[in-house]
Amino acid sequence: MSSESNESHKSHGSSNGNGSSGSSGKPLKRIHLAAHFPGVNNTTVWSDPQAGSQIEFSSFAHLARTAERAKFDFLFLAEGLRLREQHGLIHDLDVVGRPDTFTVLAALAAVTERLGLAGTINSTFNEPYEVARQFASLDHLSAGRSAWNVVTSWDAFTGENFRRGGFLREEDRYARARQFLEASWRLFDSWRGDEVLADRVSGAFLGDPRAGEFAYRSSEFDIAGRFDVPRSP
């Protein structure tokens, strides 16, 4: 048990109307809850008469609305970038197929107001400039509700779907993931948040001619220029 965590929850305890301390007098921690969309895995029972579509937007909207009605912290979408195979054949016993994570989360932002929207995005088969602008855009479009579950891939099997292709040695996977995150933070931070003036009178849209300037060099990346999404909530 950590004293820091107790302190943090003490500071929030008052916002919960009742019972903010347990029988021992110790402040109660607040529970955080998230909803995982049941997807590609044998844990999702598709044969049940009540089982609905795995791809229509109405299914995603239903789960998101339930989670928001119950005041959950966030909804979470997993990702897999190649259909699973066994004995060289596409695995057909479980749910197969899923939507694009970013696109569904952006649409869910339209049918929810407070629910967090979290998705898995791979750091091996993407590039920081593109992913950073997608997350920054999602964060704008959801008014600060997005989250990124960073994962790495290792297999050339998945790489066959990508122009980058590729295979990363296991020790390189986390190095690339770490550098990918660092590069993304560099991009997010390239706008401080006060650059957009939109001052009709003076005619200054930006307050800084260098807004969005960035550079990042590492063993995996060598990128520089100007990021084009202003700082998100």
Partner: protein, 422 residues
Amino acid sequence: MPASPAASPSSPTASAAASPLHLAVALDGAGWHPSAWREPDARPEELFTARYWADLAAEAEHGLLDLLTIEDGLSLQSEHPFEPDARTDRVRGRLDAVLVAARIAPLTRHIGLVPTAVVTHTEPFHLSKAVATLDFVSQGRAGLRVKVSGRVDEVAHFGRRAPRPLRLEELDSPAGLAALAESFGEAEDYVEVLRRLWDSWEDDAEIRDAATGRFIDRNKLHHIDFVGSRFSVRGPSITPRPPQGQPLVAALAHRGEPFQLAGRSTDLAFVTPRDADDARAIVAEIRAAQRAAGRGAETVHVFADLVVLLEERPGAAAEQLARLDAAAGAEYTSDARVFTGTSAELADLLVELAQAGLSGFRLRPGRLPYDLERITRGLVPELQRRGLFRTAYEAATLRGLLGLPRPANRYAADTAPTAATA
């Protein structure tokens, strides 16, 4: 449930007659004129909010427009075609267009959503499933405008290729033409991969067969095995075939190579004719490319792009343009023809240009939301009075609105004989 072609409202037999003219609106920032963000009814502080885009989409849908496009790129906007600038007096910054389209999809019911995406640096696998998903969340209203990037700054944002700086005046040199051919060749491969991935699941691949325990019939999922000089993609997609089968593919084209791409690979070309004769020549070039690619029997729409500033008093729009130019400190120029005038004058021009073989127009509002409202509340009623534009949405999908059939799956034929003998 997977979409079924027979049940699709866009199937040719089910759709009512398409509108004589098609209208699209091109959304970008506060409008296409660089001073537009300073107009009294502009909303420059809201450009990065969902509400701004939702309001514009609602207005466009109120006007029964076929589709809206959303501009995008992988660099900060710049006056220079290939490099960044340091201007602070123009709109800078934007949101990812595919995600803006997805955000407004559940808030609209009829209008087509056609975001722009750069194909030069991105992954066709990712974009294919993103647009397929946009088609699911919009229930069959997704399209995509593919954009080739020649920008040096975008190369540096990705850091994977050697920058090949190109100057505008070099475009017609042998080196310039070779670079152009390479970029557009890549775009053609890219669109081929998008299309194969959309078809990589047959419509009835999901079977949920409790008796055999199978969720899918894997014989109806297909590796696409695209192998090209620039990239290879194995497939199948992780996303089932979208409601439209093939979401709409569009491209903006100004010259030879892009016209070839438009004719060979797209469903809709945006072009920038100066006048009717120019339009006639452009359409002929695209039709020739289409025929050469064996697509002569398919519908490829050609829409002319026009920047429009509209006022109801004759002469007033030109005065407004002069005022905006003065604020910008320069006369506004564009790749597209800039029109100023009344709704009736614009309707006259559209009729004249349409006779050159164009099937519709993509209007770029000089000011947003002002000129969009002049389109939906002025131009549209004017065209309706002339019997040239729909008075209600007649189809539920974007392909349906454009009179395009839901395409057969290129892979379905492979399994048909097997199924027949089984």
